[in-house]
């Protein structure tokens, strides 16, 4: 029986003595670090590579979307509901006012397009832009794929003159010229796809998010550098067109005063920072003229609340 015995086995020989939390956080930080690094690298490469996509492809892409139907969330749209309840006479009147509205909107769009083209006149081989007008109270303007630029009625109401409108248009035009929309989209899609691959979250949730990214042509976010570059280019365009940059900071001044107001969607896509205003002021100071006449907006533009305050 000497060869058979059950010796006392020391405790803990099969288990690592390391504290589970320490192990956990070490692993977590290592993986987070690698993930952040990978996303940053991918985003950088995507941003560089996506510039090789020809502008014509962008245009075809947005062309395939069919009619330009960007639906901004409407704050009030009682027209359809009340129309059903009203008398035929009223319906007719409503239809007439609707066509009038369409004519008016087309006229605004043509005016915006004309102003945009004027701004681009002096540029060498500019990418073409297409301007659109949306009858919405929301204060916003954005540039997206294919050189499409959208301006809302809400924005027009807060601008005191054509110069300030030109500044906004020039800013968005600069985004198009710098190809910021496709860069933003390319980056977003690449990072989204990479995260989807890593997390293996292929059960629709992530894919839906990815599709959302494509649908969010309206809310493409540009980097802070891209915004600054667009501001700079916009000031140059303005200077070429008017000979001065008076009123260029009107919108920013307005936004600064009304920061946090609900209908101003501009903030979600154009983060405001004092650096931008300071940059415009510096540029303006450099190009100050004795006589700086601002061009008024056309009188037919039916906008309420003309005064900027």
């Amino acid at each position: 029986m000497t060869e058979y015995s059950n010796p006392q086995i020391p405790e803990g020989i099969n288990i690592s003595a390391e504290h589970p939390l320490k192990d956990f956080f070490l692993m977590l930080s290592a993986i987070s670090f690698a993930l952040v690094l990978a996303v940053l690298l991918l985003s950088m490469f995507a941003g560089q590579l996506v510039r090789f996509i020809p502008f014509s492809v962008e245009q075809t892409l947005t062309e395939n979307l069919g009619q330009w139907q960007l639906q901004l969330p409407e704050t009030d749209s009682p027209d359809e509901e009340s129309a059903a309840a009203t008398l035929p006479d009223d319906e007719q009147a409503l239809a007439q006012s609707n066509t009038e509205k369409q004519v008016y909107n087309a006229r605004v769009e043509a005016y915006l397009q004309q102003l945009g083209n004027h701004l681009l006149e002096n540029s060498k081989r500019p990418l073409p832009v297409a301007l659109h007008y949306i009858d919405s109270d929301i204060i916003n303007a954005f540039a997206t794929l294919g050189g499409h630029i959208v301006v809302t009625r809400g924005l027009l109401t807060i601008l005191p003159n054509e110069n300030s409108l030109a500044m906004v248009l020039a800013h968005e035009i600069a985004h198009v010229q710098h190809r910021d929309p496709i860069v933003a989209l390319g980056r977003g899609l690449t990072v989204g796809l990479a995260l989807m691959c890593i997390t293996g979250n292929g059960d629709g949730a992530m894919a839906q998010q990815l599709l959302g990214e494509v649908n969010l042509l309206v809310g493409l976010r540009f980097s802070r550098d891209a915004e600054t570059a667009a501001d700079q280019a916009a000031l140059e365009l303005l200077l070429q067109h008017y000979g001065h940059v008076a009123s260029a900071d009107q919108l920013f001044q307005y936004l600064r005063r009304h920061q946090g107001d609900a209908p101003i969607e501009w903030f979600s896509t154009h983060p405001l920072h004092d650096q931008r205003i300071a940059m415009i002021d510096r540029f303006a100071a450099k190009h100050r003229l004795a006589q700086m006449e601002t061009t008024p907006l056309p009188a037919w533009l039916q906008i309420s609340g003309h005064s900027i305050n």
Binding site: S5, I15, F24, L28, I31
Partner: protein
């Protein structure tokens, strides 16, 4: 945001209860092992020489221990990096020792002096999620030798 809060709460609960249960379980294992030290167990197939007349009976012990949420996440992270899955080491250690203890208890109750030919089987019980491990089962079995006083 809500997802993250739920995740963190589950993680904290998993860690808290998991640690508490593990500590308690180890204390109980050590205590009972000491009580059953007199009962010898071997993996050899043949009974030791000179035990006299014997009656043999199959004894077994079975235990299922669930993986807590913290361990599962910890192991998932480890699967990305490679290396020792320390989160599961203590889990399997507990399951093994508990299964052997239950087997020994059964042998002790039937008046055995030895258990020979002891073997262990393990199985992971997944909850139908494919790769995900829900709980681990360890089954210990052997031949108990009961001395016969003729």
């Amino acid at each position: 945001m809500l997802d993250i809060i739920i995740f963190l709460v589950l993680l904290a609960l998993g860690y808290g209860f998991g640690r508490w249960a593990e500590k308690k379980h180890f204390a109980s294992i050590i205590e009972r092992e000491e009580l059953l030290r007199g009962l010898l167990t071997f993996s050899g197939r043949f009974p030791p020489q000179g035990l006299g007349p014997l009656e043999t009976v199959l004894v077994d012990g079975n235990v299922v221990i669930s993986v807590d949420y913290f361990k599962r996440i910890s192991a998932a992270l480890r699967s990305l990096l490679g290396g020792r899955v320390t989160a599961y080491e203590s889990l399997l250690e507990r399951a093994r020792r508990e299964a052997i203890l239950r087997m020994k208890q059964q042998a002790f109750d039937s008046g055995a002096s030895h258990v020979i030919n002891v073997k262990l089987e393990t199985a992971s019980i997944s909850k139908g999620y494919g790769k995900q491990v829900g709980s681990v089962e360890v089954f210990a079995y052997g031949t108990a030798l009961i001395p016969q006083s003729t």
